[in-house]
């Protein structure tokens, strides 16, 4: 399978603090890649840097290269908006705009001529169906989106991202603030989407990673500890931190006395 992203010696900084340190990583085209690791490891930062969403943070800067389809995403000739339309991203917490459900779905495409020709209604219906929200909202598309439940809102956010027509979708812990049932719905949705597009998902839930992942990237303290096929890593983690994390015990700290 071809590679989609290639990170070479990529370091990501907020101010002088490196959040990700000299990461080398490839993410292949197609399928679902899960980024896992303890909280604070830099998973989200890594994910957000894939479509340059970190650029908005005042003291962010990076070193090394991030290639997307063999092209440096910081290349001067590259259109940032184009990149973001190809590489969609859904945040941890759904952020809906004031306005109706319909407005929210088409928010990213309202000004694209080709999409207008296709018809916003059609696109809205297609994407809402894709995220399984159509049945719940089709009779109140014009009512404010604020009234949706958290789970519905997250699915609406995914629909909004899909409406733009991305080839890749980045998901940043999309279920972390949801109840169990909504989370399951999202997981099913992600699994479904993974058949037709590349998905990179950050999660700290092991079961979720196990259920979804084709590939796994394990990050710990800003370093890529291990990356590869999910089956391999879950059954034979090579790295001690990975193993500890997967087995659910804290990583051993050699400076501490061994617990009795």
């Amino acid at each position: 399978m071809s590679e989609l992203f290639r990170l070479t010696k990529t370091s990501l900084y907020f101010g002088n603090t490196p959040v990700i340190h000299e990461a080398n990583l490839t993410i292949k085209n197609g399928g679902i890649t899960c980024i896992i690791g303890p909280s604070g490891a830099g998973k989200s930062t890594l994910l957000r840097s894939l479509n340059r969403m970190n650029d908005l943070i005042a003291d962010f800067h990076h070193k090394g290269t991030i290639m997307y389809n063999n092209r440096d995403i910081y290349d001067k000739g590259l259109r940032l908006e184009g990149l973001r339309r190809e590489v969609g991203l859904v945040f941890q917490k759904p952020c809906l705009f004031p306005g109706s459900i319909h407005d929210n779905v088409i928010f990213g495409i309202r000004h694209i001529r080709e999409k207008k020709k296709e018809g916003f209604k059609v696109i809205a219906e297609r994407t809402l169906k894709a995220v399984g929200l159509w049945d719940e909202v089709h009779n109140r598309l014009d009512s404010p989106a604020i009234g949706l439940s958290e789970g519905q809102a997250q699915r609406l956010a995914i629909a909004r991202a899909l409406a733009v027509g991305p080839k890749t979708l980045l998901l940043d812990e999309p279920t972390s603030s949801l109840d169990h049932r909504s989370a399951r719905a999202i997981e099913t949705l992600v699994k479904e989407l993974g058949r037709t597009m590349t998905i990179v998902i950050v999660t700290h839930k092991l079961e979720q990673a196990k259920a979804l992942a084709d590939d796994v990237v394990f990050i710990c303290e800003g370093k890529i500890c291990e990356a590869g096929e999910a089956a391999n890593i879950f059954s034979h983690p090579e790295n001690i931190e990975t193993r500890c994390y997967i087995e659910g015990s804290p990583p051993l700290d050699p400076t501490l006395p061994y617990p009795e």
Binding site: N51, M53, L56, I57, A58, D59, E81, G82, L83, R84, R85, E86, G88, L89, F91, K93, C95, F97, F107, G108, I109, R110, H111, A157, R160, A161, V164
Partner: protein, 281 residues
């Protein structure tokens, strides 16, 4: 026990300060009302002034003040909005502090300096003379920063998540502005507009030798004619403080001016408060 005594002294001093401050407002407003109200009648509001302000009304002065302030707002608003949008969308956050510093600097420029330079640069340099348009441009420059600050406050108060959520969909800068920032900046635009108008309406030093004429002014027939304003009218009549008729008319004009300015500021405060309440929900 000594603590208690100290506390009582401290609080009563503070209370006296606050009472003084508040009563100052009431004394001033009351004084203006007391002296200005007798001048106010239908003729005063609808007639031109006669006898060098000692008789007649302040109709042209009132319209002049309103015209100047509106045109100043008209010129300043797009520039202020453009400035803030540019610094928010096109410049990175690292430039924010510098930008703010400049805007605050402009906000601090004494208004008399705007008047002097405006006269030289706009009045003479651009050959616009002592006129409505000269005054409008000068006032526009003067109210530009306070408008920018209001708009900037509204945009900065918008949580970053909205901007992120729009950008992540691949929206271009212009579309980000159109779909998100413009609607969100509206309360700030309105607050800034009203604050700016209030400032422009109350300003004298910047226009007293750039935009106004004392006598012979009706409704301006064009932007290159001078206007009469309440502010400069009061200024001239203030020089005649011993002529009771002139003084009464000065107070009448002051009452109209204060009413206008306070109405504008209160509207601005009201809008800003609505926005704050919304932001807190």
């Amino acid at each position: 026990m000594r603590v208690r005594v100290k506390d009582i002294c401290f609080f009563s001093l503070c209370l006296m300060a606050a009472a003084t401050a508040i009563s100052l407002l009431f004394i001033i407003i009351g004084y203006i009302l007391w002296h200005g109200a007798p001048a106010i009648n239908f003729a005063f509001l609808t007639e031109g002034s006669r006898d060098f302000g000692a008789a007649g009304g302040v109709f042209y002065q009132t319209t002049g003040t309103v015209l100047l302030m509106f045109t100043a707002g008209l010129i300043a608003l797009p520039i202020a909005l453009g400035t803030v949008l540019f610094s928010h969308v096109y410049l990175g956050p690292s430039y924010k502090k510098t930008t703010d510093l400049f805007i605050y600097a402009l906000n601090g420029v004494p208004t008399i300096i705007f008047g002097l330079l405006g006269y030289i640069i706009i009045g003479e340099g651009l050959h616009l003379g002592v006129s409505w348009v000269t005054g409008s441009i000068i006032l526009a420059v003067m109210i530009l920063p306070s408008m920018a600050v209001s708009i900037d406050e509204a945009l900065s108060a918008m949580p970053h998540k909205y901007r992120d959520a729009a950008l992540v969909l691949g929206l271009g800068r212009w579309h980000l502005i159109r779909t998100l920032l413009l609607p969100r900046s509206l309360p700030g635009v309105l607050t800034g507009l009203f604050l700016g108008l209030a400032r422009a309406a109350g300003e004298t030093a910047a226009i007293m030798f750039t935009a106004t004429a004392f006598s012979g002014v009706g409704l301006p027939r064009g932007i290159s004619e001078p206007v009469a304003t309440l502010q400069t009218h009061i200024l001239v009549l203030a020089g005649e403080a011993t002529n009771p008729r002139a003084l009464t008319n000065a107070w009448g004009a002051a009452l109209i001016l204060v009413t206008l300015v306070l109405a504008l500021s209160l509207t601005a405060m009201f809008i800003r408060r609505q926005v704050r309440m919304e932001a807190e929900i």
